[in-house]
């Protein structure tokens, strides 16, 4: 299974992974509309503590605590092997947010303004995740791990 490898030594803290993530997960797929109109949440977060910086997103753990904590099976492992959330059944109880050891599950809103879990889905519509493609310094690479 291929995962996004975080190469902290190369991260320049430019936030382009976040911008690419927002655009990919927007309805319009337009960079400006995604941020200004749709208020899409980025699934990855660029963290900074001088001189360290890195973009953190779901690690798709083998023993994912979020799947264990989810009360109705909304958080599940899909056919590709990645941990994803079914937004049609998520009730927004935030247990996944509580147990995530990396703090990468966010509280987002769906179209009905209902609070839902939002997390990295490894961009099912594209070959390489958007964050990896946008990274200018190979700080994120898509590798077999």
């Amino acid at each position: 299974m291929k995962l996004v490898k975080i190469n902290e030594d190369n991260c320049v803290y430019c936030h382009l992974c976040e911008v690419a993530c927002k655009t990919e997960h927007s309805i319009s797929k337009d960079i400006i509309k995604a941020v200004k109109k749709e208020n899409v949440l980025s699934r990855c977060t660029a963290e900074f503590n001088y001189p360290y910086s890195a973009s953190i997103m779901c690690r798709h753990c083998d023993d994912a605590p979020c799947i264990f904590a989810c009360q109705n099976g909304s958080m599940h492992r899909d056919e590709r092997g990645y941990v994803v959330v079914n937004q049609d059944t998520c009730v927004g109880c935030w247990m996944c947010v509580m147990v995530c050891p990396y703090g990468v599950i966010k509280q987002g809103k769906n179209n009905n303004d209902w609070d839902l879990s939002v997390k990295c889905d490894m961009c099912p519509d594209r070959g390489i995740p958007a964050c990896v493609e946008a990274c200018p310094n190979e700080a994120l690479t898509f590798e077999e791990l």
């Binding site: 320049v12 936030h15 960079i31 001189p51 700080a139």
Partner: protein
Amino acid sequence: MKDVKTYTPPDFHVIRDPDRCIKCRACVDQCSFDATFYDEEEDKIWNWDAKCVGCNRCAAFCPTEAITIENRTSPYRVNESWGNSNVVGVKKRAAFGGAPVVSMGSDKPYIVYWDHMLINASQVTNPSIDPLREPMELKTFLGKKVDRLEIQDGKLKTVLSPQLEIELPIMFAAMSYGALNYNVIEAMGRAAVDLGTYFNSGEGGLHKDHYKFKGNIIVQVASGRFGVYKEYLDVASAIEIKIGQGAKPGIGGHLPGEKVTASIAQTRMIPKGTDALSPAPHHDIYSIEDLRQLIFALKEATEYKKPIFVKIACVHNIAAIASGVAQAGADVIVLDGFKGGTGASPQVIRDNVGLPIELALASVDDRLRQEGLRGKISLVASGGIRNSMDVVKAIALGADAVYIGTATLIAIGCTMCQQCHTGKCAWGIATQDPFLSKRQNPNIAAQRLVNLVNVWGLEIKETLGAMGINSIESLKGNRLALRGFDLNEKEMEILGILHAGE
């Protein structure tokens, strides 16, 4: 708050299109000069033009192209005889009480002779060559040559001097660990290995990790003697004695203490946090005879197995000086023109002292030929080589190979904003800041350098083919391949070329 007492008009104007700006803060966190900042209360990104150095890092990273950086013209009344730089220069000196330090090569509008020379090509009377179909030789050997080879019983009797073999006549110029950071040196090393050429350690010693590039290293022995010891000399393929640097002839070096990190201190063999001062002269070289002693001391120390380079800055009596250096026993003479770069130099020196490499190279080649020395030693030109045709013209003027420094840095991101001396390089090149240094990924940078030099190699082959030459050796010192235009007679006499149409 703006300091009115030291105010001079900003050089740049940063324009932000509010419709396009998505406040992603890529620009804010990329700016290492604090010219861009985010106001949380207003939820707005602001720019401070006075701090902008025009490095274009923010514009490059802006995902929506919301940022445009413009050169501001001087708001002062136009005065052709003073020019803006002199007015601002006076104001800065008066305000700060110190001599301004600058970096990179001189940006003054001196004539660039490369741009006044045209290259020949074959038509009808001699055939041109297609480099894609026929072999084209760019291999160059640097080192002392013999007049004739003696062969006895089918074997070479003459003892040859050590030679540097380079796949194409381009090497990476001396840029020290201290001026550049670890990642950039790593990238240059990897590129040199890939290309079959050499990178120069500069005067700052060589980090132990970079000893792995053995076989592709030229080490420098400069007036500060930083990091010079047995292993350093052993790991090198050639040793370069740096007498002068084109951007600052007659001036030493100064790496400020704050840049001397633990790793640099260890490499340079000086205490951490102390200023690394390279004296202006070598304190043991006050004559050609003294230089000869150092050359042979280094040869002794390396058992006569490595060629010794001597790098001199181009100054007025360069031909006589180069002749002296050749007679002192140097295997290779490196000429550094006044457009060469630097990590820090007093502004007046950078902009006013020295000679253009084109004239110096031509006059040195002439003098060495007259004295019968040119065939014995090799000449390397550096300082202001901007493209592959500059390389061709330099070789036609008499060089064996060239060093590229500024072009190396531009290839990996440098935009020549001339802030190397501040240590805040936003492109992560001339900085020791661990956060900024991360901006150079050796994998990417090495690949870019390999691409650049390979493309230059292809372009050189293409040009040689057009000239009907299949080896770079045949171009060496072949000034008939060049014609000048827009030059006066004296200039053409020194360059040793004919006028276009002749």
